[in-house]
């Protein structure tokens, strides 16, 4: 079981508040997505959950324990893993080393051969690229490598920041299919995505963020039908 409860967190960059009193929850086994325009606070929220930023107020409960303010390495050890925006692979390292370094925590290291096997089954293209430098991969391959690297940490809650960014439509579908498969293997997913249509279709539940606040929530299907969402994010003309 790996549920996440975010309770009224405020996050600042210096004196500038980016996230205002945000609350939401992700139940074990769910796929939840945060959608919203640029600057809505989605990335800030994920980085806070990953321990890269500290909330100034509020609680973050993971499996019932408050983990707010813990350092990133501690959170990874507990199973919270972030796949950062724009892939952020280590370009000068081979694909194999990138994946190996994903299995950094002691528990993940012990299992790394088996995990690597299942990652390569999920993304067969990486098998052919293992000895290549990650910087030489195409955009789609890089995203597969980044997701694979995240999986190497054996996450229980996997957070993804815009995994479809800059990918061709076919690759976007492939990435979303992979996410569904990962979720099917029991990993809880928290997804931030600007590709709202795909994200809402995949997610069990979704939250809409606007200027650092949660303004709407509901099941993915319900939000798809919501007039405000359709107008704001799905390009439907309003009055």
């Amino acid at each position: 079981m790996s549920s996440l409860r975010v309770e009224a967190i405020d996050v600042f960059y210096g004196d500038v508040q980016a996230v205002w009193n945000i609350s939401f929850q992700v139940e074990a086994g769910e796929i939840v997505t945060l959608v919203g325009a640029n600057g809505a606070g989605k990335t800030t929220t994920l980085r806070t959950l990953a321990g890269l930023l500290r909330p100034r107020a509020g609680h973050i409960l993971f499996d019932g324990k408050d983990v707010a303010g813990l350092p990133a390495n501690e959170l990874v050890a507990r199973g919270i893993v972030l796949i950062p925006e724009a892939r952020q692979l280590w370009p000068g390292m081979s694909v194999r080393d990138n994946l190996e370094m994903g299995a950094y925590t002691r528990a993940a290291r012990a299992e790394r051969h088996r995990t690597m096997q299942s990652v390569l089954e999920m993304f067969p293209i990486l098998q052919k690229r293992l000895t290549q430098n990650a910087g030489t991969l195409s955009g789609g391959e890089q995203q597969m490598c980044a997701i694979g690297r995240g999986l190497m940490a054996r996450p229980r809650l996997l957070m993804l920041d815009e995994p479809a960014l800059g990918l061709a439509p076919m690759l976007v579908r492939q990435v979303f299919a992979a996410l569904k498969e990962i979720n099917g293997r029991g990993v809880t997913l928290l997804l931030v995505e600007q590709n709202v249509q795909h994200a809402l279709r995949l997610a069990h539940r979704a939250y809409v963020l606007e200027t650092g606040r949660v303004t709407l929530e509901g099941t993915g299907a319900a939000l798809m039908d919501d007039a405000r969402v359709r107008q704001r994010f799905l390009g439907e003309a309003g009055l």
């Binding site: 692979l89 370009p91 390292m93 950094y104 925590t105």
Partner: protein, 317 residues
């Protein structure tokens, strides 16, 4: 990698066998080479592998040197002061690292300039360090050759440690920190802890070299061991040689010691060596960011390309 091993064998053979063949003057020069190899290779662990460019490494040389002189003054056997010199350098590296590793990129580098200068000013002002006139080792029998072997072994040890670290998970983690620190942190690599560890390991090696320096020169002052120009040379050697590589810092150290020896011997060029280093640095940054190692690899590739048609000729003809 095979090439690196051959280079290292040459270095080891030269340093260890030279006393059998060479004159004292040559050995003095080789001592300088070994000293430079320690500084450049040890700096490369933090600056090259982990990408944290510190401009304050003279502080470790100085702390090592002062520790050795002060303890020898108190009656210690100079050799037994070396572990203490290393330990104090490590301690200082942690004290400095804790605040400065919160900074990234150029901000970190600038902070380390401040730290190095602060240490120099403090050493110049304190009484127990002899102020700006410095300190002299107590006169005792001094065997140049044992000091020479000490520095040679330390140089080989340093290069050996770097070769070992590079193949370990620790080395990969440092490389991950250099290439994308955010990604490293997101995947749970405790970047600050690793930077501190790299800093401490290289400080221990540089501090020990500082102690051997004091034993060899018998006299130290803030102007010799805490000099900013020393910090600058420590950075320039690995960059000119090939930053982040194993062989690069060694090549840079050899080149720099050679230049320094030549320049110091010439009255007209004596004060111009930083000017020449600066010029070298600009050439490297403009034309070959991987330094002498990059240049070498380019030459090898050119040679291979030129050689290929010849090798294929019999089959074609």
């Amino acid at each position: 990698m095979k090439g690196a091993r051959a280079w290292m064998a040459v270095l080891a053979a030269t340093l260890l066998l030279a006393p059998l063949l060479a004159e004292r003057g040559t050995l003095n020069d080789l001592w300088n080479v070994a000293f430079a190899v320690v500084l450049a290779s040890a700096w490369n662990l933090l600056g090259g592998f982990a990408g944290q460019i510190s401009l304050g490494y003279s502080a470790f040389v100085g702390i090592g040197a002062y520790t050795t002189v002060l303890l020898a003054d108190a009656g210690w056997n100079p050799w037994l002061t070396l572990p203490v010199a290393a330990a104090l350098a490590v301690l200082f590296s942690v004290v400095v690292g804790l605040p400065t590793f919160r900074l990234r990129g150029p901000y970190f580098s600038i902070a380390t300039i401040g730290v190095g200068e602060a240490v120099r000013v403090i050493a110049s002002g304190m009484e127990f360090t002899g102020g700006s006139s410095g300190l002299r080792m107590p006169s005792a029998d001094f065997h140049f050759l044992s000091n020479y072997y000490g520095m040679a072994v330390l140089a080989l040890l340093t290069v050996g440690v770097m070769a070992y670290v590079r193949g370990q998970a620790f080395g990969l983690a440092l490389s991950a920190i250099r290439q994308d620190i955010d990604a490293a942190e997101a995947l749970g690599i405790p970047s600050t802890r690793y930077k501190l560890l790299a800093h401490a390991l290289s400080a221990a090696l540089v501090g020990t070299a500082g102690g051997l320096f004091a034993m060899n020169f018998q006299y130290i002052s803030p102007g010799s061991v805490f000099d900013f120009r020393l910090s600058l040379s420590i950075v320039l050697m690995p960059i000119v040689g090939g930053i982040g590589t194993l062989v690069g810092p060694v090549l840079g150290a050899v080149l720099f010691s050679y230049l320094q020896i030549k320049l110091l011997a010439s009255p007209t060029l004596r004060d111009s060596y930083l000017f020449i280093y600066g010029g070298l640095l600009m050439l490297v940054m403009l034309f070959e960011p991987h330094g002498m190692v990059g240049l070498w690899e380019r030459l090898v590739q050119l040679g291979r390309r030129a050689g290929r048609p010849v090798a294929g000729a019999p089959r074609g003809g």
